[in-house]
Amino acid sequence: MKPLPILTQHRRPFIRSLVGGSMLFPGILKQLMAEDSTKEPHFPAKAKRVIFLFMTGGVSHVDTFDPKPALTKDHGKEIKADHPEIKDRPGYEKIYLKKPQWEFSKHGQCGTEVSTLFPHVATCVDDIALIRSMHTAHSNHYNATLGMHTGSFAQSRPSIGSWLTYGLGSENRNLPGFVVIAPRQTYAGTQVYASDFLPGAYQGTLVVPGSEPISNIAPRVPTEKQRLELDLLAKLNTQHLSDRSDDGNLVTRLRTFETAFGMQMAVPQVFDLSKETDATLESYGLKRGQTTGFAWQCLAARRLIEQGVRFVELIDTGSSGNWDAHGDMMSHEPLAKNVDQPIAALLKDLKQRGLLEDTLVVWTTEFGRTPFNNTADAKGREHHPWAFSSWLAGAGVKPGIVYGATDEHGLRVADNGVDVHDFHATILHLMGFDHERLTFRHSGRDYRLTDVHGKVVRGLLNA
């Protein structure tokens, strides 16, 4: 990975001009010249960065990654379940099994079964560790989404991306370490990528696909004028610094302007797909010049991690018009179509470039969907925290496996349950962190992503 040339070009002369003939303290000088440092994890790890794919609204496991022939066979059969979504709910006194609407078949060498909703991802199963035994603690979108991101289902806590950038530091100071690309806000708003009590530097920077991906990134004056302005600012700040040369904060702030100046170019360059080949664009299903859509998000994610961004989260939709298929499961079709090819293309692209070896790709949602409904011919499915599917791929992950299982109808986890905290602990482990030791002292106690829970799921790890 090479840093973009433009950044070095613009910073060096500025720093040299400050250093030359200055009265600055040696420590301060060092700070000015220093490249941003990375931090060491607890133990050596293969994964250096994460791409976190979040499908918002609750993807039905029994229609995508968890085949249930018995559910088809028993379609229409009444069952009993003490389920949070039907408790005291009028019209839900009786519930009936509802068959999946898509066919499953085996794929790859490993033979993992995937439904026709994800034909492209199906071609990547040999690189994927599929978890069919996920479960979560809440059946509300808001709480389950917050939980999947922060490990906390009610209160605001730092996001997993913040924890990892806090632990690993930044590889590129022209770009934020934690980037979230989302067309709209999902449930729980900015809390899903907030640093909360961790320092603000570790909060997710929101990128909204479209004309201004990062707020205030588009230069309001031409570059050469802005350069003049920043030169003036540097002079003023340097003079101000001359009799305050003991204060590292002043230098840090001074430097942020140069970084921001670089970002104005680095960010558009990262998001400028014009140098990508036709073949690449085509593989993602992107039209040349297109700046929105999940395919764009996936390709942008690859380009961001190439530039050293630690954690890239892609959210496919927002808090409405998403996978929340109460009304009709057929709404899964366009949503799957929106993400399927780009995700497969991303995995293949990473693999081809050798990036999958040290990049972890995570695919998840906040909960699954009920294998039942209040009538057998109901078109939709309800929220289902008891079981859902997620998958991991890439660095350190055992490829081509299926981990855990649900019961014959996909109602409950039957084998090797993985809860949200276990999921987080495993991701941290793959990144080289002991989830019990990645802590932050706040308000009188040490907090961690997994709170007091979580166990690393060894079965997902490549020995």
Binding site: Y187, A188, V221, L236, H240, R253, T256, Q264, S443
Partner: protein, 998 residues
């Protein structure tokens, strides 16, 4: 499924494990280790005995309270006994003083009143069983050894205030420590730095040019500094700035924080009260009392102040289900803000480190849950309710009475009118079918025009006065919502041969929904137009009716339809209607309406009629047509033309019309009663312990009382919530004074004497200058809890007035500047940055804001899919910006504003590139810079401009180098002067000098 608080799952369940397992393996010197109890005994003790001890004995015999030298909160306690000797001899009820005392034999315990018999029997049984007591950790209170707790520095009484106390005394304390650390303090700050420091510190705003000028031209004597401090303390900006500090601590927000993050419309009243309370230096103990129990001690102001509790965050989808989290949030905030104690940590089990037990937690929980809070609304439960009126009932009555009287009158008149109309309507509805003669009926095909002449209308119809001719348009099937053009002419046969025509209705169409019109004049017969004849002509009544079942007058008038003001209509609600193009030209709307044309527009399954009431006895002939005027490939309409031969019908209609035309005086909008988002008393009851914090696993009820380590007092009046007592206990605690004094110190120096300002417990840091902290707290109490007096003492110290220049020696020995050898330079807060920008551009509005421009409550349809989200532009001080919980204000978040979801004792300062992007490209920032540039364009010389722009942004003149650098930029910028100088203004406002206080 329940949402669990993460704290409840802390790995340390030592409390319970101790109860149930360790007892059999541990032994103590003083305890007979041969007594090993079955687990049953432990359980029995926990469920039966312990509650009695907690409820009736702990008040005087637990924690730091050991009346008569006796502690009953631990096994060691009763084994050691009290001043009266051995209390319990296990197994021997006769020799056990406890047994005698509770039976009021000799001793009388508890002194407040004898226990009930069942409790006495339980205690006797306990002793008889050998006094099984698993409380082996009992020399602990919560997570702290009780001896340590008793001696914990923060809980100690305050020292006697010394008479020689002064700013000088403070300096002596600081200097002594510096001396012993071997650090040389810095020189006094220069005047400019000091004035700027004081100004930001007290008001959050830069000093004015005049203030600086004066300070720089005159010698800055102590007297002058004091005068400057006083002037700042008097300014209303002081209250806003220091109020904002407090709002950080009380996690102020303008939204509720539940899944839809609804606006809390009246939160601003609490916010402004805080500004005001600091502004007028309300005694701090009184501020506490107001915020906890203001509704019980003061009127309007007190109610508003309880916003402190009311603005607690709500959680989840149905907030009533997660109120336990909201109570936790309140307990946590009360503990941190007033006492510097992390009380919230005792929700799932006793505090891990501090002397706070789960019972303490639930005793407070009971107090808070016995109150009632304004309801912000939530997705499943609709709109806000239970706001607290700010007027007393008599005032409300006084305001409401005249309006209510009017409203009652209007209601009565309306009811009377309705009764009359019903009566009249009945007489119409009860018409015999025989009295309804069909003259013609026909379908009108889509787009077709059906003239009456083709329907055998040559015949003559005899009419009497009051009989009706009714043209009814019927929708076909369920469609029918079609524009149907009509014309109905009634020709008198014989007599005056008058003609009444529906076309006459178009003129003045909107004037009334029924019309009395004379016959149409015939233009081509001037002989018939004589004045005399006109006068003799008889007027006929016309009505527009909805006639599906009854005959209802169309009463709703519109002067614009389909976006066109030439189309006037009468309708009953949305549909059906009669309308006219009243202009002289065709109007093109959903279809083309010819000039001066009349239409009927029936609703689906709803008929509309035009009725003519005969004013004559004689004969008539009819002409006219019905035309579907909006062809749309549907099934057209139908019409019926009928003669109603009941004269009373016409009279009935006239009667209804007359009743309706009698105006009823409307009462107007109801007077607005100001309300607050606040707290009132609820149903008083004790709360049950949530076992391991799980609200569905309830343990025993805990009496509402004060936390044991601070006294454990019980309620004076258990029939009230207990907030009044809670307010007293807090405001009399020495902790509260220490915590507040430390906060004020921290807000001046950037760090407190205790560096963990919301944690004075064992996980917090001890004070760097304990004597100073204690004496300051004592003086604070002595001054009548005057925060402004604290400012005066602190700001007049040499310590505060030192330069921010540090030496290598200082930094080496004391890198964090805990010994205060120099002033710690600080970056401005988010609010200070934005206010300074607005102040530089001259656009700052320093008035108090009130209600935010939220959408009207009745329109709220927020869901978790589509939650409330808004950013309201404002030029007011940033402390007045709308603070949202779920989606943080973009500017405040970017510059490290307070967390609106949890008490923020110290703002963190981050310096990140996304902040720099704000100065490069933000439109608001650019606008302010442009405003400055425009203001200086009137000046002629560049040097004047440079001076002016410097004064406006940095309150000083530039030196030669700076002026030179700016001139260079302006010269090489190659843009309009306005743009070039705006660039200069931006860079000055982006500079480190602008952002840091020396």
């Amino acid at each position: 499924m329940t949402t669990r608080h993460p704290l409840e799952r802390l790995p340390v369940s030592w409390f319970r494990s101790l109860l149930y397992s360790l007892i059999v393996t541990l032994s103590f010197d003083q305890v007979d280790s041969s007594i090993v109890f079955a687990q049953d005994d432990s359980d029995w003790f926990e469920s039966k005995v312990r509650p009695i001890l907690v409820a009736h004995c702990y008040e005087c015999h637990s924690g730091t309270k050991s009346k008569g030298g006796l502690l009953l909160d631990s096994k060691q306690g009763w084994i050691k006994g009290g001043e009266s000797g051995t209390v319990i001899v296990p197994g021997d009820t006769d020799k056990s003083l406890l047994v005698q005392a509770v039976q009021y034999q000799g001793l009388e315990m508890p002194p407040k009143g004898k226990l009930d018999d069942r409790d006495i029997q339980t205690l006797i049984e306990w002793v008889r069983r050998g006094a099984p007591d698993p409380r082996i950790s009992a020399s602990k209170i919560g997570g702290m050894d009780s001896k340590t707790a008793q001696n914990w520095w923060a809980f100690q009484p305050l020292p006697t205030p010394i008479e020689s106390f002064s700013s000088l005394w403070i300096d002596q304390q600081i200097d002594a420590k510096l001396d012993s650390a071997g650090i040389h303090p810095s020189e006094p700050a220069d005047r400019r730095s000091l004035i700027r420091r004081l100004s930001y510190d007290l008001t959050g705003l830069p000093p004015t040019r005049d203030e600086l000028n004066q300070a720089l031209t005159e010698p800055l004597s102590e007297f002058q500094i004091e005068k400057f401090i006083e002037s700042k303390l008097e300014s209303s900006d002081y209250g806003v700035h220091w109020g904002r500090h407090w709002l950080d601590v009380v996690r102020y927000a303008d939204t509720a924080g539940e899944n839809t993050d609804r606006p809390v419309v009246n939160a601003w009243r609490y916010r402004n009260w805080v500004f005001d309370a600091f502004g007028r230096d309300m005694p701090y103990d009184s501020m506490i009392k107001h915020q906890i129990a203001g509704d019980l001690i003061a009127d309007q102001e007190g109610i508003i102040a309880t916003g402190y509790l009311a603005i607690a965050r709500r959680f989840g989808h149905d907030i009533d289900k997660d109120m336990y989290l909201t109570y936790e949030e309140m307990i946590d905030t009360v503990g941190k803000s007033f006492l510097g104690l992390t009380l919230g940590c005792a929700r799932c089990h006793d505090h891990k480190y501090d002397p706070i037990s789960a019972e303490d937690y639930y005793s407070l929980y009971g107090i808070l849950a016995s109150s009632k809070y304004s309801f912000p609304g939530c997705e499943p439960k609709g709109q806000p309710k239970d706001m607290v009126p700010l007027l007393a009932q008599p005032q409300i009555d006084e305001l409401m009475k005249p309006w209510q009287a009017k409203a009652d009158l209007a209601k009565a008149a309306k009811e009377k009118q309705n009764a009359q109309i019903d009566q009249a309507r009945k007489s119409l509805a009860q018409l015999e079918p025989a009295k309804r003669i069909l003259i013609a009926e026909s379908k009108v095909a889509e787009g077709a025009k059906v003239p009456f002449d083709s329907q055998l209308l040559e015949r003559t119809i005899p009419v009497r006065v009051g009989e009706l001719i009714q043209l009814t348009i019927l929708p076909n099937g369920n469609h029918g919502a079609d524009s149907t053009m009509i014309e109905l002419n009634i020709h008198q046969v014989g007599g005056a041969e008058d003609v009444w025509s529906s076309g006459q209705l178009i003129e003045d169409f909107a004037s009334s929904n029924y019309r009395k019109l004379g016959p149409k004049t015939t233009q081509n017969d001037p002989a018939r137009n004589t004045e005399a004849l006109q006068k003799s002509r008889i007027e006929a009544n016309w009505f527009y009716l909805e006639t599906t079942k009854n005959a209802d007058l169309l009463t709703d008038k519109r002067l614009s339809n389909g976006g066109n003001s030439n189309i006037h209509s009468w309708s009953l609600g949305e549909l059906p209607s009669v309308f006219a193009n009243v202009s002289d030209s065709p109007v093109s709307v959903w279809t083309v309406l010819p000039p001066k044309s009349l239409f009927v527009h029936p609703g689906p399954e709803r008929n509309v009629s035009l009725v003519w009431v005969s004013p004559i006895e004689g004969s008539i002939r009819l002409s006219g047509f019905v035309q579907d005027a909006h062809p749309a490939a549907l099934d057209g309409v139908s019409f019926k033309l009928e003669h109603i031969i009941e004269p009373e019908s016409g009279n009935g209609l006239v009667q209804i019309a007359e009743i309706l035309s009698t105006p009823i005086e409307e009462p107007g909008p109801s007077p607005v009663i100001p309300v607050a988002y606040a707290v009132v008393e609820g149903t008083a009851s004790d709360a049950k312990v949530h076992l391991r914090g799980d609200p569905e696993k309830l343990g025993d009820a805990v009496p509402r009382r004060w936390i044991s380590v601070l006294g454990g007092q019980s309620l004076e009046n258990p029939n009230a919530s207990g907030r009044k007592e809670l307010a007293d206990w807090i405001s009399k605690s020495p902790l509260m004074a220490r915590v507040m004094v430390n906060r004020v110190w921290q807000w001046h120096f950037g760090q407190g004497l205790v560096n963990t300002p919301s944690d004075f417990g064992s996980r917090g840091e001890p004070p760097t200058h304990p004597e100073l902290l204690d004496q300051l707290a004592a003086q604070f109490v002595e001054s009548g809890y005057s925060v402004k007096q604290l400012h005066r003492w602190i700001l007049s110290t040499k310590t505060y007035q030192r330069s921010s220049q540090s030496t290598e020696q200082q930094r080496e020995i004391d890198p964090e500047n805990r010994w205060l050898s120099h002033f710690s330079r600080r970056r401005l807060t988010a609010e200070e940055i934005r206010d300074s920008i607005l102040s530089s551009s001259g656009n700052l509005d320093r008035s108090y804001g009130q209600e935010h421009p939220f959408p009207p409550t009745q329109t709220w349809t927020f869901t978790q899919h589509d939650p409330f989200n808004a950013v309201y532009p404002s030029n007011r001080r940033s402390a007045m910006l709308m603070v949202q919980r779920q989606r943080r204000h973009p500017f405040l978040t970017l510059f490290d504003g307070a967390d609106p979801n949890a008490s923020t004792p110290v703002r963190q300062t981050t310096l990140v590139p996304t902040q720099a992007l704000y100065y490069l490209n933000d439109p608001f920032f650019h606008e302010q810079a442009m405003a400055i540039s425009r203001q200086i364009q009137t000046l002629v010389h560049d040097t004047e401009k440079i001076d002016a722009i410097y004064l406006q942004t940095l309150q000083r003149k530039p030196n030669t180098n700076e002026a030179q650098a700016i001139l260079e930029l302006v010269k090489s910028y190659q843009a309009s002067p306005e743009d070039a100088w705006a660039a200069v203004a931006r860079m000055l406002m982006a500079s480190n000098e602008f952002h840091f206080v020396d």
